[in-house]
Symmetry: C2
Amino acid sequence: MRIAVIGFGTVSKSLLKVLAEKSKLILNAYGVEIKTVAVFKRDGAFINNNGLDLERIVNSQNYRNEVDWVNSADFNKLAGELNCDCAVELTPTNVETSEPGLSHIKTALEQNMDVVTANKGPLALYYPELMDLANQVKKRILFEATVAGAIPIFNLVRNTLRANKIISVKGILNGTTNYILSRMTSEKLPFKIVLKEAQKLGFAEADPSYDVDGIDAAAKLVILSNALLKQECRFKDVNRQGIKDITPEAIELARKDGFLIKHLATNENGVLEVAPRLVEVDSSFAVNGSLNVVKLQTDLAKDLTLIGRGAGGVETASSVLNDIIEIAILRR
Amino acid sequence: MRIAVIGFGTVSKSLLKVLAEKSKLILNAYGVEIKTVAVFKRDGAFINNNGLDLERIVNSQNYRNEVDWVNSADFNKLAGELNCDCAVELTPTNVETSEPGLSHIKTALEQNMDVVTANKGPLALYYPELMDLANQVKKRILFEATVAGAIPIFNLVRNTLRANKIISVKGILNGTTNYILSRMTSEKLPFKIVLKEAQKLGFAEADPSYDVDGIDAAAKLVILSNALLKQECRFKDVNRQGIKDITPEAIELARKDGFLIKHLATNENGVLEVAPRLVEVDSSFAVNGSLNVVKLQTDLAKDLTLIGRGAGGVETASSVLNDIIEIAILRR
């Protein structure tokens, strides 16, 4: 299967490294060959019709001098000429316009490619439209990496809970806020101090609102709700409250009664909410650090909880790679 | 797809009920029709070449008078005549001889059927041989329900962690011992008293050794190790220690230092062990009641933990049903 990778950030580089390392294993285990023929950056692309040397690209010190580099190459313009089966969209999330991811995904579908993406923006804003478009052209959009990093929640439901009805979903979907609340709890420090610490350590962005106001978690909840609960909904449908106003005093008060304060994303009875909530200290949501948790309520398997890494290059690449292999198997 | 169900206990009856309720949904969602043509009990079988009325069988007050009942019918003798695609082996586990499950599975494979089973015995004793036999006749054995009930651990690795290497596995695999240890911890009661209480409530058998001596957990660990870690091993390879000697004093002592005592099944560096172990009170193994936990360490997704129901008719049937649908999809 011929793939084009769009985006060249942490997840993309991790994916390319893993593809370089594991392509033989994948061929032996699944009988599919994944050939990367294009990798798009902001200012151009590496393109080789016979398959790129991925290790070389990832380690290149001066990419503009690489033999396969094409200056100013743009996916939307070149997609028709690449002869690719699958586009892997890994550009940064934007929950206002969802660009450039939205255009890339539409272009890919129109050019007869399946799509794998880790980009939350397009699905948080246009899930129903994009799935309709994919159905029209009989292509797939897989998006395991958009929610909870390495936790394979969509694949879990699709491939291991067949015939189960998903009744509700509840999760800690943002590692940064979980890290901040965990530190506020263990160190009894106020929000602002812990946020600064997280920013110094690289766990939080200079503009932290995306995480601490629950924007990121809300985008993920929308995707979970559309995909698992079959509820057509959008980013604007989420009741959203951040963690800025949580005080160490409130945390201490909760703790005295056996509770922790966690930033939960929930869809119960069709109501989408991201907000600070009390959880019992021995509940499965009582996880510390930057871990993510997703708990499903189902009709047959009943409650099922998954805990794992919500971020990280190679962890997220694991989910992207599983989607790529699934598409390759289905196209065999 | 035509299936024969062998065994008529709690899981079997739950499966038949769910099949009766969800067959249309399954047909619409996956394009496969699951037709149950035989259900074997100890003293005979319900057989109908056009498909059994499952609701009627499950609710029958006097099964020997049912029109489809065949006295003394035996799967091993009749398998060749059933024209079945898949045998669903749900007889009770026996870790000494693994019969009658072993013979049923062998017969099914020899008669060109795929196999789905919830029976731990055959796989705990003969995993390598049974997989060899299945490979020879180009059939599959799926066994999701053998370990951790509703937690879809084997399907998870097979279908959602593709290209990941599983490095180690660690779990609470027996709900009865977890219930007993949880009660000993919360009520500060000795093992014998809590065991009696569990027996009265139906959570523990009259002969509790299968659970409290770790036999059940060891059988499950062997299946996990063969399937996920690709380590050829058998029941006798497990270092096994039960929970009979745990005292409330030991639990209290651990608790003072921030630990709980849990009965863990572990395969780390190829060493299989079932034994009481200390876990931190905020670890993902600190689950109470009869819940099961499985934690995988992998190379790409890193640590992934699943928490769910380890037993229960419909919960276990969920795993059996997913396997049946998977085989039906693969045979399409």
